[in-house]
């Protein structure tokens, strides 16, 4: 009675609805932290409570019946939802609907929504490398590639089968049919590696809101570039008046006081590129987030270093978040005096809604 594969069309339909829901919610996701921390290696888990069919139901229950030992007053379990926000609670055992999506799919939806062109890796990195790989065994081939062990094994097998093998005189004579050769396949591997270098101002004027914006923006940049390149590496640099390279954890959670010297970050970035990421082998994407309150005496040095940096990079993105104080004059300076206008992409991210436009500005060039 069981009929198979009717489910396929319903699944396809579901997938389509999920895609639609993600797409229509992408602006929301772009500006809220919902997806951060939901990214695994290949999959992103997206909460889509709106997919659940609404019904008249009871709200969260704060009581229930259980079974087991214990006296009144004894705790039986910890409510996992209680730690977070009070509002988002659900009944025990009831969860917000989540769907999983590959990073590629998510990036694709994001690209559709932001109208992002695919990136064309530039220069020689565009050329795919040809690589021979020995992947199997064939019956024909040049003698130089003869597989000694396999050949003899085959001969032994034949002799045992035909009864000519004598264990007292265990000599094995391969004949032509026994010969085995290594065979290879040629693969094309595009050598388009990329490195994303995030630089962030952690001076006193960068508050938590600003950092959250950076975090969100970098999540989406990661998603997009990961879908575009085979291998993507990420490096993090924080700076106030001095700069240093850190890991991602430190990057997002450090808060320091002190002034801002943008040049320090560019310097560390340049060194990093020189030492580890040669522009020959890598597509380099430096992103710099700051509130733009640079020390005035540092401006010139920063611009000069940027000039050096630019030829190595695909693009240089400068995101200026609104600081608590100060003028944020560096953005203007950059827009006026930037050495290579084509490569320098700048955006002012006033609040979380600005992320959308910033991403569009940064990634919309297809480079």
């Amino acid at each position: 009675m069981y009929m198979s594969k009717r489910i396929d069309s319903d699944r396809a339909r579901f997938k389509k609805i999920v895609r639609g829901a993600v797409r229509s919610g992408i602006r929301k996701y772009l500006s809220r932290g919902e997806l951060i921390g939901r990214r695994g290696k290949d999959l992103v888990s997206i909460p889509l409570p709106e997919l659940e069919i609404p019904r008249f139901r009871f709200g969260r229950a704060n009581q229930g019946v259980g079974q087991g030992e214990g006296n009144p007053g004894d705790p039986v379990a910890i409510d996992p939802d209680a730690a977070g926000t009070g509002e988002a609670g659900s009944e025990p055992g009831e969860h917000i609907l989540e769907v999983e999506m590959t990073i590629e799919e998510l990036a694709e939806i994001m690209a559709e929504e932001l109208a992002l062109p695919n990136i064309e890796p530039r220069g020689k990195k565009n050329i795919a490398a040809e690589k021979d790989k020995y992947v199997g065994i064939a019956k024909t081939g040049p003698e130089s590639l003869r597989h000694f062990k396999r050949t003899f094994r085959q001969a032994l097998r034949r002799q045992i089968m035909s009864g000519t093998y004598d264990s007292k005189d265990p000599r094995v004579w391969p004949v032509k049919e026994d010969k085995r050769y290594r065979s290879w396949r040629t693969t094309f591997e595009p050598e388009s590696n990329a490195v994303i270098i995030y630089m962030m101002d952690v001076s006193g004027s960068m508050g938590d809101t600003q950092k959250e914006i950076v975090r969100l923006t970098s999540f989406w940049i990661d998603t997009w570039l990961t879908s575009q390149y085979k291998g993507v590496e990420r490096r993090f640099i924080i700076h106030d008046a001095a700069a240093r390279e850190v890991d991602s954890e430190t990057f997002f959670h450090t808060r320091e006081s002190g002034g801002t010297r943008i040049s320090s970050a560019y310097e560390v970035c340049l060194n990093l590129i020189r030492e580890k990421f040669s522009p020959e082998d890598y597509n380099i994407y430096p992103f710099h987030f700051t509130d733009g309150d640079n020390f005035h005496d540092d401006d010139e040095k920063a611009l000069k270093l940027l000039e050096e940096l630019l030829p190595t990079a695909n693009i240089f993105c400068y995101g200026q978040v609104d600081g608590a104080y100060g003028s944020g004059h560096f953005l203007k300076l950059l827009q006026e005096k930037a050495p290579d206008e084509e490569k320098v992409l700048s955006a002012e991210i006033k609040d979380k809604d600005g992320i959308y436009d910033a991403l569009k500005a940064f990634l919309g060039t297809g480079r």
Binding site: D10, R13, F56, F58, G64, G66, D74, V76, I78
Partner: protein, 551 residues
Amino acid sequence: MSHAALKFPTELKEIKYEVEDHARAFGLDFFQIIFEVLDYREINEVAAYSGFPYRYPHWRFGMEYDRLSKGHAYGLSKIYEMVINNDPCYAYLLKCNNLVDQKLVMAHVYAHCDFFKNNLYFAHTNRKMVDEMANHATRIQRYVDRYGTDKVEAFIDCCLSLENLIDCHWPCIRRREKEKPERNGPFNSAQASMPGNGSCSCEKGHDESSACSGSECRSRCSGCQGEEIEEGGFFSDDDDEPISPRRLRSKGYMEGYINPPEFLEARAKEMKTKRHEKKRFPENPEVDVLLFLIEHAPLKNWQRDVLSIIREETYYYLPQGQTKIMNEGWATYWHSRIMTEKVLKDGEVVDYADHHSGTVGGSKLQLNPYKLGLELFRDIEERWNKGRFGKEYEECEDLVTRDSWDLGLGLGRDKIFEVRRVYNDLTFIDTFLTEDFCRRQKLFVYGKEEKDPAWVIKSREFRDVKEMILGRLTNLGNPLIRVLDGNFENRGELLMAHHHEGRDLKWIFADETLVNLQRLWKRPVHLETKREGKRVRLSFDGKENEIKELD
């Protein structure tokens, strides 16, 4: 048949015959059962369609399949078996079960099937539901072909959103004289001219045109209030008696002064409108909201059909929701007896014990219906075997006497068969969950303060525990919502009321559900309920959700 043979190897067939014989010998009475062995993908698919091979196309089945597959892939859940209430009864076994599991599962299935066949609450269900579901699928597929997937699916979404608004006592109580087969009766004609009544223009007008707009309804309504009322026999059933305003006593010659005719006339008119107002629509609050919508919402023919399909399927599934604890308890009780007393071989004991303990084990925070039902059936059997029931036993306060109470009646077997015939979960718990049982099973009520992250045992009082379980089972754990007025404010709007018993609704969902309801009703819809103790009315007028405090 050869196809079925492929799906059901001889090895299992032998087990089936063995288990079936034992089940019959124990007195179980079931439909013919057809087993099929499926791999995990197939069983997930069948489960996504809740057991039926043909269902109408809808994305939620795909979603359910995804969920089940994921659960399976991560090893979170495994479906051992599925069984459908149908004659013949279809049951699916998971291919990778080992033989002990298959034995156990088959014994379990036979008991389920016995329950389906004999429990009173299943009596109304269609035993050819496999065919019926396939017919539903065909009908809906036809609408999809004609009107497009998006349109039909969106409508189904709306219907499903209201799916739980049914009358769970409907199979047992006739709330109406008849299911209104004839539409020409005086009562019906009267109702047909009521405003807000979507199906006002009787059968032939049903098609597209029956989507009668509010304004049309209103104009017809204002017409009704005039003189035609009397001629049309509007209040035909109980309003025949003439309206006669009370007269003051008077001597003949004073009559014209004491009871002036103009006054009497005005009074008569007043009484007439009063009586009219009393005549509500619906007459009594309607619990079966789906039925009310089918009959009165301005739907197109195909929409009405889709809604009836959804309603029919909901009523088919209703008893399974109503007897979860009993049904699973019964099946567990019998698989345990059949296995341990008859079928189990020495070498299989450990595997059996492992599987069985998995079935009846559970977490501290949730009552396991398998466990609860099993223990209750065992308890009932013991009590009726030993005569531990009735006034004398209840009133006995000497613990020692109670503990050793045994009249040797041996009525246990008969009693549990009677129980499986006439009870549902609610009455089952209400009747048989005793204080002793509650204590022995260590049941407790737990709770949590708003900001406190830990669930804490609140009480082990029998009353509290029982009240809580019964509360959860009432109306299948759904809020009780009734249609109060289909012509609210005399503007064809729909007013419903939630019978509030201490728990607030889930607000986000309530708003969205109203939106879906409005799509069917077309005019504004309202729901009265309580929010944090205050009476409120949620409304949706087609554009905006609104909330209004009533006190």
